[in-house]
Subunit: 240 residues, 2 copies
């Protein structure tokens, strides 16, 4: 008996990692875990031949991605078939100082996801998307909020994209020098960097008796943001 | 007597910030300061109609950007006139929890820079670029390293792009709710996040007596990465 092969994204010339292919991963587990550990992505579209690289908040549901529409909305409106897009998430984990310029590097974890982006036009679908945009970060929060108005819903642009292809690229190697260079009296080090949560700042106009809900406990001072986001994602999507 | 107007990037439909235009900045000082406070960017190209959003290390020299060529090299080779590209740098500064879903947001600082990317083919130019790729991060470091070989230089791809248009977008507002929503008993807060330096890790194979050079003092435990990078940039490019 053999286990069923793990689900993976198909590989072609678009998403195949050409340089340092030993750092590449195409399986759902690796790709999705990285996507679920961040809130900020960069998404690329083409408008009249000009590429745009736009930062925005996003989240994943199965093999589908969602993000704020922003300035891409005009282009996507009325394009039911979608426009090619690429959504990328990157964690910078370190700067690497080697004994030669050539081997200076960085440790990082990134995902590039490819597909066709389209605007969510249906109001019910958009309402559901807006709920998840909040609840993916802060589990159960939407139910505690002032309800969204029709006008707000109309003013919200949400884009969706089924992931057709994806690749993750991970470097977690620190200093790697040519063997003979280890004999040189040159300093080398890895400078780790982390994105962490600073002390949360309660709004200055909270009503008396309104306190921080326990559902926000994932966001505590000093914690890594990627760990907090992984935890809250699992609370909102327990099935993964 | 009036002061000369500050230098700014020209504004057109490509880089004009359409949503929340009060957050927009086009002046060199704001755009360049943001570019100089990061090491990682995302760059967008189009290859056969498909947009790519690639994370890479970059740096600025005047109004010119440089970055690692990576998988775009094939496309850029022999294209002396350049290909349209967009290089974006983003700092996520907080997650913002408002009293309505609609006003949930994030504080951030980002720059989008537009131009035409081309591969540096000339070996002397490439050698100089490789020097600055290291020295911009770690001032004076190249002079202390094992020299780059011809073969390494050939294996290095560096892309350059003159910034033709750019915009910075900054949100640093925390919670902003509709006035009437402040009367609701709903918890709201700002969750600040920072990318900080963890304890530097000297390589395990340093020769006896090889110690950390003083030029790396900007990278010290607990410091914000954007501040350290701003400091080292100013050391390498004192004229700005």
């Amino acid at each position: 008996m053999t286990e069923a092969p793990a689900a993976s994204y198909p590989i072609d010339d678009t998403n195949r990692v050409k340089r340092r292919h030993q750092r590449a991963h195409y399986d759902h587990a690796t790709v999705h875990a990285l996507l679920d550990s961040a809130a900020l992505c960069h998404v690329s579209y083409v408008i009249e031949g000009q590429p745009y690289c736009t930062p925005t908040l996003y989240w994943r549901e199965g093999t589908t991605l969602y993000w704020h529409g922003s300035s891409a909305s005009r282009m996507l409106r009325n394009l039911s078939e979608g426009q090619p897009a690429c959504l990328t998430v990157t964690h910078l984990d370190s700067l690497v100082l080697a004994r030669s310029a050539f081997h200076h590097s960085a440790d990082y974890r990134s995902v590039m996801a490819f597909g066709h982006a389209r605007l969510i036009e249906d109001q019910t679908d958009k309402s559901r998307a807006l709920t998840m945009m909040v609840d993916r970060l802060f589990p159960g929060r939407t139910a505690t909020l002032r309800p969204t108005t029709e006008q707000e819903l109309k003013a919200t642009s949400v884009v969706t994209m089924d992931i057709e292809k994806a690749s993750a690229k991970i470097r977690a190697a620190g200093v790697i020098d040519d063997e003979e260079d280890y004999l040189l009296p040159i300093y080398a080090e890895r400078i780790p960097v982390r994105t962490v949560i600073e002390p949360p700042e309660p709004d200055g106009r909270l009503l008396p008796g309104v306190t921080r809900p326990a559902t926000l406990s994932a966001f505590r001072t000093g914690r890594r943001l990627d760990e907090a986001l992984t935890e809250t994602y699992a609370m909102s999507y327990p099935a993964g």
